[in-house]
């Protein structure tokens, strides 16, 4: 048994040496983005200077991710982690960072960037109590559905990239300035296009779109989840349907990663269209970057609202 153990140790030692000598020599800043929207933003600002890897996809619920071995390995090798923050990733990110053995990413270090720190939040609970469901103390974390807030995050993120990668600081500043100009123009266009949506009463499956509503002036009259993070129940769906008789809604909205069945149920029973929104980059074929995300979101809303008219 001792000889088997010795050969085991020799094998491990050999493996270590092999790994040490084949260290990938990266010149680019290695960024781990928690969600696709931040991965896309890092690409806009970093271009060729960054090597971006995204931890989740548009088809995954960002609240419910596991600290998988592949994610731990990616956190180990990253120079910067770009996440939403506001406790969105509380179920997995702390563990990822603890297990990564990577000092650069720890909370408070420059390599730890939380987008929600740079924008004002909505739905900030006045009372913290789990009887209200899975509420986040800092407020609703789904800030990426408002392009004005993305503009603010892009400033802060560019500053962080400059801080972490001084040799390319001018590149990041230039990319940010270009992005900000394009983004402002696009935001003005989307805002103008979406003007007819102002005041449109809608139902959401999860409280995922408060920032979108804040931007475009949509009115959320009901939510299909009885409490945030709690799956819609049959009785609650019926209650929503009954309530809609008094305050009718025109659309029911759900995010690409969500189970469409609760929205479809309400759509059938209340006679209003159910609309899937991409929610993040990759949530639909058209949402292949940040610009595509909002082009598609606004187009889908206008088409569905037009059809519902």
């Amino acid at each position: 048994m001792t000889t088997t153990f010795n050969s085991f140790v020799r094998l491990l030692a050999g493996l270590c040496v092999l790994l040490m000598t084949t260290l990938p020599a990266h010149a680019a800043l290695r960024v781990l983005a928690c969600e696709p929207e931040w991965g896309a933003l890092v690409l806009e600002l970093g271009g060729k200077q960054v090597d971006v890897s995204v931890a989740t996809s548009a088809r995954q619920d960002p609240h419910q991710i596991q600290a998988r071995p592949s994610l731990i390995a990616r956190a180990r090798n990253a120079d910067l982690v770009v996440c939403t923050g506001a406790e969105l990733e509380i179920g997995w990110l702390p563990l990822l960072l603890q297990q990564s053995g990577n000092a650069a990413l720890q909370p408070g270090a420059p390599g730890n960037f939380a987008a929600a720190d740079y924008v004002s939040k909505l739905d900030v609970p006045t009372q913290l109590d789990r009887s209200q469901g899975d509420v986040h103390a800092a407020g609703n974390p789904h800030i990426q559905t408002d392009p004005r807030r993305i503009a603010l995050v892009s400033q802060a993120l560019a500053a962080r990239l400059q801080q972490l990668d001084p040799p390319h600081a001018a590149d990041y500043a230039r990319a940010q300035a270009e992005f900000a100009t394009r983004w402002q123009r696009a935001t003005e266009r989307w805002t103008a296009q979406a003007a007819p949506l102002r005041g449109l009463p809608v139902v959401s499956q999860h409280k995922a779109f408060v920032y979108l509503y804040d931007w475009l002036g949509l009115k959320e009259v009901a939510v299909l989840e009885p409490k945030p993070g709690i799956e819609p129940t049959a009785s609650h769906l019926q209650a929503v349907q009954a309530a809609l008789k008094a305050t009718p809604a025109r659309l029911v909205l759900y995010a690409a990663y969500q189970d469409p069945r609760p929205s479809d149920w309400l759509s059938r029973n209340a006679g209003i269209p159910a609309l899937k929104l991409p929610f993040t980059v990759g949530g639909s074929d058209a949402a292949n970057d940040l610009f595509g995300l909002f082009d598609d979101t606004v187009a889908r809303l206008l088409a569905a609202a037009g059809a519902a008219r």
Partner: protein, 471 residues
């Protein structure tokens, strides 16, 4: 080494050195390009600054406070949007008073109803000698309060984190389940942990009881690791700088728990080495697998055995135990989205070699003899969430006492060659991610001719800080 070869080597090393570069038309062209790039850069910045100025003048309101601390000169020249000031985060309002530094507190509440066809007081695993106070079997019948676990954790300073898990038992006793400090700033993939903690051997060992998928731990863990191996010591783990997850761990400890025993010596009573790897296969599959080795010492470890006549007898074991564990887990969730459905398959194989001496019937016969056994066991379990909130699981397992050799005591102790087996099925309902109610049915055949049919009804609730559970 011949001189010419040495010179060639020096030249080869020096070749990429910029000092050796000479001015050439190519260099001048490169310089020109660089100058052009710098000019373009300034033009862009100037344009952005002009836009900012215009926007500011048009609104005649102050520009939004930059919520960032750019340490370098290049200011992020943002074209601001009309309502930007209202959208920027206000200066972070830190919590007030001393309480804002309180650690994260969590409390696990758990209760159990058990119904068994055999008396739990007579529970034993045939062929396995276990400590007098071993936590094996279904526990007590009827209603009981399961372990209440109080968890506290916080960052200590920029370099260390601390955590403790205090278990309050149903019989009013208290135990320190875990209390450790852990580095967060060593870097290079290294993490050092010290204090009392669950060993990182195997897959299930480090997991707290409230995250188990069944009410109890597998028989192999009960018979070979004293249900769950926790120790006082230190663990160094290293994560390889590769895209593939490779984690190596080295542990030394006091060796206070079964299969070791508190020996009171200066050196380590327990040493362990772990190696795990894992990754993703496509979007929907992920896995982790590994091997662990653990060495423990025992001095006069009091064990309950079975005499050849069938009666219980207390023996004392002195010697060493070398334990190998192979573990694997595979998880599936459609597109990696586990909210609606997901499946988890896990299995572990444990094999120990215990060698030393055994004193038979301590205090009475006191007959000493050599002792050597190679007990082993395995389990395989699958858990499937078939719809939101609902999961079902199946587990099957077996043990092998591994033909113990009692030396001079041969014939005094029973050695039947019986292979204990157990099968369990469970269904649980999770109203939220903080609550769970579980029904488990099991047939436990740990003793020949006495199959124990067990029914458990259990609740597990998590209060306070949002826990992050390991893979």
């Amino acid at each position: 080494m011949p001189k010419s070869l040495l010179a060639a080597l020096v030249l080869a090393l020096a070749a990429p050195c910029p000092a050796l570069a000479v001015d050439s038309p190519a260099d001048i062209a490169a310089l020109r390009r660089e100058m052009a790039a710098i000019r373009a850069d300034y033009e862009v910045r100037l344009r952005a600054l002009e836009q900012r100025l215009q926007a500011a003048e048009a609104r005649a309101t102050p520009a939004p406070p930059m919520p960032v601390q750019p340490p370098v000169a290049a200011a992020p020249a943002a074209a601001t949007l009309p309502s930007a000031p209202a959208l920027a985060a206000p200066a972070a309002a830190a919590g007030s008073g001393a309480s804002s530094f309180n650690p994260a507190v969590s409390l696990i509440l758990s209760g159990l109803y058990a119904r068994t066809s055999q008396d739990p007081a007579r529970y034993a695993i045939s062929g396995f000698q276990l400590p007098v106070d071993a936590e094996v079997g279904p526990g007590s019948r009827g209603f009981s309060l399961a372990e209440t676990e109080l968890g506290l954790s916080a960052q200590i300073d920029p370099w260390l984190r601390g955590a403790a898990a205090i278990a309050l038992h149903g019989d009013d006793s208290v135990s320190v389940e875990e209390a450790f400090i852990q580095t967060t700033a060593l870097g290079r993939g290294l993490t050092l942990k010290a204090g009392r903690f669950f060993s990182g051997v195997g897959y299930l060992n480090a997991q707290h009881a409230h995250t188990w998928d069944f009410v109890d731990n597998p028989l192999a863990y009960q018979a070979l690791l004293g249900t769950q191996y926790g120790d006082d010591g230190a663990r160094l783990s290293w994560l390889a700088p590769t895209d593939q997850f490779i984690e190596l761990g080295l542990e030394v400890g006091r060796g206070r728990g079964f299969p070791g025993s508190d020996t009171g010596r200066n050196g380590a009573g327990m040493t362990a080495v772990t190696a795990h790897t894992g990754g993703d296969v496509g979007d929907s599959h992920s896995w982790r697998a590994g091997v662990s080795w653990q060495h423990t010492r025992a001095d006069e470890q009091a064990l309950v055995g079975q005499a050849a006549g069938g009666s219980a007898v207390t023996n004392a074991f002195s010697g060493r135990t070398r334990l190998w564990i192979a573990d694997a887990v595979w998880k599936w969730a459609p597109n990696g989205n586990a909210s609606r459905t997901h499946f988890k398959l896990q299995g572990e194989y444990l094999r120990a070699t215990r060698s030393g001496s055994l004193v038979y019937d301590v205090g009475n016969t006191d007959s000493a003899g050599d002792y050597r056994a190679t007990p082993s066991g395995w389990y395989v379990q699958g858990v499937y969430q078939f719809m939101p909130r609902w999961r079902v699981g199946l587990r099957t397992e077996a043990l092998n006492a591994g033909a113990p050799d009692y030396g001079a005591n041969a014939g005094l102790l029973a050695s039947t060659g019986f292979r204990p087996r157990k099968d369990a099925a469970m269904v649980d309902f999770n109203p939220s991610e903080f609550s769970r109610v579980r029904l488990q049915l099991a047939r436990d055949r740990s003793q020949p001719g006495a199959s124990d049919n067990q029914l458990f009804l259990q609740y597990q609730m998590s209060l306070g800080a949002h826990g992050a559970h390991g893979y």
